[in-house]
Amino acid sequence: MSTVTEPATGPQTGSSTSDLIARLREQENRPALVGYLPVGYPTVDRSVEALKTLIDHGTDIIELGVPYTDPVLDGPVIQAAAQGALDAGARVRDVFRVVRELTEYAPHVPVLVMTYWNPVLKYGADAFARDLAAAGSAGLITPDLIPDEAADWLAASEAHGLDRVFLVAPSSTTERLRLTVGASRGFVYAASLMGVTGERNQVGSRAEQLVADTRAAGAVNVCVGLGVSTGAQAAQVGRFADGVIVGSAMVRPLLSDGPLTEDEWTARLRNLAEVTEDLAAGVRSARATAPTDTPAAVAPGGATTSGEAP
């Protein structure tokens, strides 16, 4: 429970995640597309199908959500899917199974697990890290765990060679950016705006500055999430970020009030594939088309609107 006063000296490179981001940057001059879906929605088996769809259509890194009863950093879309997964009986142990299936299906795609802290605390941080590593996961994204509280997780991730992705926000001070960057491995997750997950018409105007500040604090890889939902937005963010994280826009095609027939489910997967391809095209065009001028905000549908005042 000791407070971290000095930045941890964990390596920010040398993980499969950071290696992949570096390779995309150096060989393809593009950011990574990080795609989120929760385990177990609408069922565990169908969530595996949906995750494979993300991979098949251009997602570089998987962010696998652990459904949780009290997801305070999630907006309505992801809340609904998490609740649906829990209602359908999703368990924490399903996470390990899904990680294994995905890493067997696509060994080159890093699978990070996004979880609120209590399920890990309950499982035991070291046991969770051990089982995650054994399943082939690259590490954890922890939205409600700050490095100050993460002594157990820092030790467990170190022991089992896992990435630790902490978040930074537009409100983070320079001191906290340094602390968080120092504790992170794989990449640093920059929240593009002050708020919860969900689709928005514009990417937060503070995202670019936050990425710059996070780099200045020593980060090698900074990925941007919250509010990115279209290929155009992905392209805009991809000009300055090392990765573009998309959640709600990928979950939305799967949402339904009741069970889906096989045909209905197949149609949902087709829709998900289209969304993913649009985003994948976005990250691939990000730097090829990058103007040198101030970036403009891009609304869904591709209409360009003027950027917010800085």
Binding site: M1, T3, Y68, T69, D70, P71, V72, L73, G75, P76, Q79, A80, Q83, L86, R91, V92, W117, N118, P119, V120, L121, K122, Y123, P143, D144, L145, I146, D148, E149, F166, L167, V168, A169, P170, S171, S172, T173, R176, T180, A191, M194, G195, V196
Partner: protein, 424 residues
């Protein structure tokens, strides 16, 4: 910690409990709040303004009432009630709300958000917002807005916006989630006026500080009236703000036994309860590490109590710490026991308590009877002296009680009662 009095222990940790398990986006605001709180604590003007409000607005000091007829049902102990029910808005909640609202003025923020279960904290927050000209939004589970329709109307009368929360269990826990989501998005202009001694640091310490006046007054009043300290202090424990408020003044008096009473609901074995110290385990919820009702996967379990104010799956980290230290003990009181004590206080003393507070009354009866059975007394054979925090009044609970005891003539307004029937 050996040099620090228990009553002055500060956050972020109480033993291994507490901390800040929240998104990074909130840390800057929590730091700002912590700084402002500490500055205010050293500012005589802040203390004077709060004292003035306590005296002129809330009606402090609250009375200390000896209840002899009730005490006859508590093994012959002497029982004193600390009358927080007589405060403006009807409960102890106003102490914390006024303190935080004054801090908000100092920070220059214009908007308050709050969570509420039965509505007591929401009403107190809406009251302070009206008094200090602040915008106020109260998140309340949809289930609770339906069952506490009159409290929703009270908050709206006071100018607050009440937002029904329609996700999850649609009760207090989910109202807090939604308030936290609002806060993340609006933290630069908004203060989250958290209503109990849980949440991320500095809330557990700060809310204790704003309620410590309860115990300090009671200690002084009892010394004057009974000539000595109590043998036992009893309080109900939901999040734990009223209990910590009264316990705090006695933490360093080793001879004073501190007893917290949680909602035993329909009984521990039923699984329908809010007894975190009997049925919970180490966990993290709403920013704090504490005892938590959870399943094997660390998913929060729904709690249950006839009283909404105790119906919460976690508990303030300072209580978890006091529990582990053995400085305070915590045990469940069932719905049935609480309602019996509720009825008894009405009939013997003419005081209608909140059902939350009735859990403390039932606890006092249990303690008094057990002492009588063991032949335990106060010093020099004096009767055992029990101090109970009567944290709130029971007007809000009349519909629940009417149903519980079958007090209405057949056919009278049954539907209306069902509609309003709250859990406290």
């Amino acid at each position: 910690m050996t040099d620090v009095k228990l009553s002055d222990v500060s956050g972020p940790y109480f033993g291994e409990y507490g901390g800040r398990y929240v998104p990074e986006a909130l840390i800057a605001a929590l730091d700002e709040l912590d700084t402002e709180f500490r500055k205010a604590a050293d500012d005589p003007e802040f203390a004077a303004e709060l004292q003035r409000l306590h005296r002129e607005y809330t009606g402090r000091p609250s009375a200390l009432t000896e209840v002899q007829r009730f005490a006859a049902h508590a093994g012959g102990a002497r029982v004193f009630l600390k009358r927080e029910d007589l405060n403006h808005t009807g409960s102890h909640k106003i102490n914390n709300v006024l303190g935080q609202a004054l801090l908000v003025k100092r920070m220059g923020k214009k908007r308050l958000i709050a969570e509420t279960g039965a509505g007591q904290h929401g009403v107190a927050t809406a009251t302070a917002a009206a008094l200090m000209d602040l915008e106020c939004v109260v998140y309340m589970g949809e289930e609770d807005t339906r069952r506490q329709a009159l409290n929703v109307a009270r908050m709206r009368l006071l100018g607050a916006e009440v937002v029904p929360v329609k996700i999850g269990s649609r009760t207090l826990k989910d109202a807090i989630n939604e308030a936290l989501r609002d806060w993340v998005a609006n933290v630069e202009t908004t203060h989250y006026l958290l209503g109990t001694v849980t949440g991320p640091h500095p809330f557990p310490e700060m809310v204790r500080q704003f309620h410590r006046i309860i115990g300090e007054e009671a200690r002084e009043q009892l010394l004057e009236r009974a000539g000595r300290l109590p043998d036992v202090v009893a309080a109900c424990v939901g999040g734990g703000s009223n209990a910590l408020g009264i316990f705090n003044a006695f933490l360093d008096d080793k001879g004073v036994e501190l007893r917290g009473f949680e909602a035993g609901g329909e009984g521990i074995e039923s699984g329908r309860h809010a007894a975190r110290f009997s049925g919970g385990a180490l966990g993290v919820l709403h920013g704090a590490r504490s005892y938590l009702l959870q399943d094997d996967d660390g998913q929060t379990l729904p709690s249950h109590s006839v009283s909404a104010g105790l119906d919460y799956p976690s508990v303030g980290p300072a209580h978890a710490w006091l529990h582990d230290l053995g400085r305070a003990t915590y045990e469940p009181v069932t719905d049935d026991e609480a309602m019996e004590a509720f009825r008894l206080l009405c009939r013997t003393e003419g005081i209608i308590p909140a059902i939350e507070s009735a859990h403390a009354l039932a606890g006092a009866m249990r303690v008094g009877k057990a002492a009588a059975a063991e032949g335990r007394t106060g010093p020099d054979g004096e009767p055992l002296l029990i101090l109970v925090n009567l944290s709130g009044r029971g007007d809000k609970d009349v519909a629940t009680a009417a149903r519980w005891f079958g007090l209405l003539d057949e056919g009278v307004a049954t539907e209306e009662l069902e509609r309003q029937e709250g859990r406290g």
